[in-house]
């Protein structure tokens, strides 16, 4: 999936993956897609819940070589 920006949050522990995601999203325009790479397992449920509560859309997520990848469309 084509992303407007890629955020590397690998190796970061909670809450940093979401703190950084929020910061990156603030710099994007509505409709843009942010790709996030994280290794903290807690990020999976938290990113999905945060996306919901903040009005964005989690377009896709998958796991590759123990790296969690998320694509979020800015609302």
């Amino acid at each position: 999936m084509e992303a407007n920006k890629v955020l590397d949050a690998k190796g970061l522990a909670c809450p940093m993956p979401i703190v950084k995601t929020k910061k990156a999203m603030d710099e994007l325009n509505s409709g843009d897609i942010l790709e996030i790479h994280a290794t903290d397992k807690g990020a999976k449920a938290d990113l999905a819940a945060w996306t919901d509560s903040s009005g964005h859309e989690l377009v896709e997520q998958k796991e590759e070589d123990e790296v969690l990848k998320f694509w979020i469309k800015k609302g």
Partner: protein
């Protein structure tokens, strides 16, 4: 700087019924699954990711001081605790090690003395509702239904100048990883397991069968096994010093064991009925029932102990008072609560078929035990 509050400090507060206000910042799903509970505990849930812009929006829901912030591991609670302190709030703390530490903390509570000068302790795992036991007599100790974290038992035995020589599991557990084998490796103790639960295990063990007598110390504080199937096909209870009945996951203080975690509920419901309505009925009513779990804080007494006389349970425990067998069958096979987290994998680990990393084991054990019928 917010204060780091240990799981042990929180356990003391919960047991002593000291007031505690908790702001739980995990996501709603995790919070709904399990949380810190107690008569004196007030808890609200606001996920940390809804507080990234500040905590102003929730200040009216919080007391003016003394708020404990908790999250899954620790990081997010530290962040939110910092934010609370920046508003001028005093007495802000966070749970050191997060809910993981809470899930793993064991509080030793003395159950009583045995007739020959020995002692019996119950280790209360408040975060998960698991209860394990240590019998101490004449410099020797036995651990029953050990948790995965074996250090608390090793430390406690050392403090009591006792050597752990016997370890047993009343059944193959499905809700937590047994520390039985690890304790054996560490101490050289004998490890007992009911053979009917151990048909697929990948390790040696001593067969715990009906009538097996295990001695602790040079004196006669023995554990006498009573075959009591129903939760699993091998489930075996211990009678210690003709005074205490360790029921495993067959009988709890406010409920009874569920028969569906290791096979088909339909197959074992008859055994469960038989154990509860016949086998246990033949035992002395004065025996103090000591289960392997509790589900509600109401089962925890003022001193932190979870127990009740067997005769009392025959009066008040609903699971022991269903006259009609068909109705009983229905109760324990229908409308069962969700199974414990990762229970299939946990059983495989306890059989020695899987050997996950420590971190994976912790993840598997997250959440309540859910071994009771309701």
């Amino acid at each position: 700087m917010p204060k780091a509050m240990s799981a042990q400090e929180i356990a003391r507060k919960v047991i002593d019924k000291e007031e505690l206000f908790i702001l739980d910042v995990r996501n709603q799903k995790e919070f709904a699954d399990w949380k810190i509970e107690g008569d004196s505990v007030e808890v609200i849930n606001v996920p940390y990711f809804d507080l990234l812009d500040g905590v102003e929006s929730i200040m009216d829901k919080l007391p003016n001081e003394n708020v404990l912030v908790v999250c899954a591991k620790e990081g997010s609670s530290m962040m939110v605790a910092d934010m609370l302190e920046e508003t001028g709030m005093t007495g802000v703390s966070y749970l050191k090690g997060g809910m993981k530490a809470w899930s793993e903390y064991l509080e030793p509570v003395k159950v009583g003395d045995t007739s020959d000068g020995g002692e019996l302790y119950q280790f209360v795992r408040l975060g998960k509702g698991c209860l394990s036991y240590m019998v101490i007599s004449d410099g020797e100790a036995m651990v029953i239904d050990s948790n995965r974290m074996i250090q608390p038992y090793l430390d406690f035995a050392k403090e009591k100048n006792a050597k752990i020589v016997q370890v047993a599991d009343t059944h193959l557990h499905a809700d937590h990883i047994s520390g039985g084998r690890a304790l054996r490796e560490e101490t050289g103790a004998q490890y007992w397991l009911p053979p009917k639960d151990a048909t697929e295990v990948h390790f040696d063990y001593n067969a715990l069968e009906d009538g097996t007598e295990i001695t602790v110390g040079t004196t006669k504080v023995g554990a006498q096994a009573v075959y009591s199937p129903g939760h699993t096909i091998g489930s075996t209870s211990f009678i210690i010093d003709s005074k205490y009945l360790l029921t495993g996951d067959i009988l709890f203080v406010e409920s009874i064991g569920r028969p569906d975690l290791a096979g088909l509920a339909e197959d074992w419901v008859g055994d469960l009925r038989d154990t509860l309505y016949s086998r246990y009925k033949e035992l002395s009513e004065d025996l103090e029932v000591l289960p392997a779990h509790f589900a509600n804080m109401s089962e925890v007494q003022n001193d932190g102990k979870v127990s009740a006389p067997l005769g009392e349970l025959y009066k008040v425990n609903n699971g022991l008072n269903v006259e009609d067998e068909g109705e009983f069958r229905k109760m324990v096979t229908e409308n069962l609560p969700p199974q414990p987290n990762a229970y299939q994998e946990i059983r495989q680990v306890n059989m020695g078929k899987l050997t996950p990393e420590e971190e994976e084991k912790r993840e598997m054990e997250i959440g309540p035990n859910r071994c009771a019928v309701s």
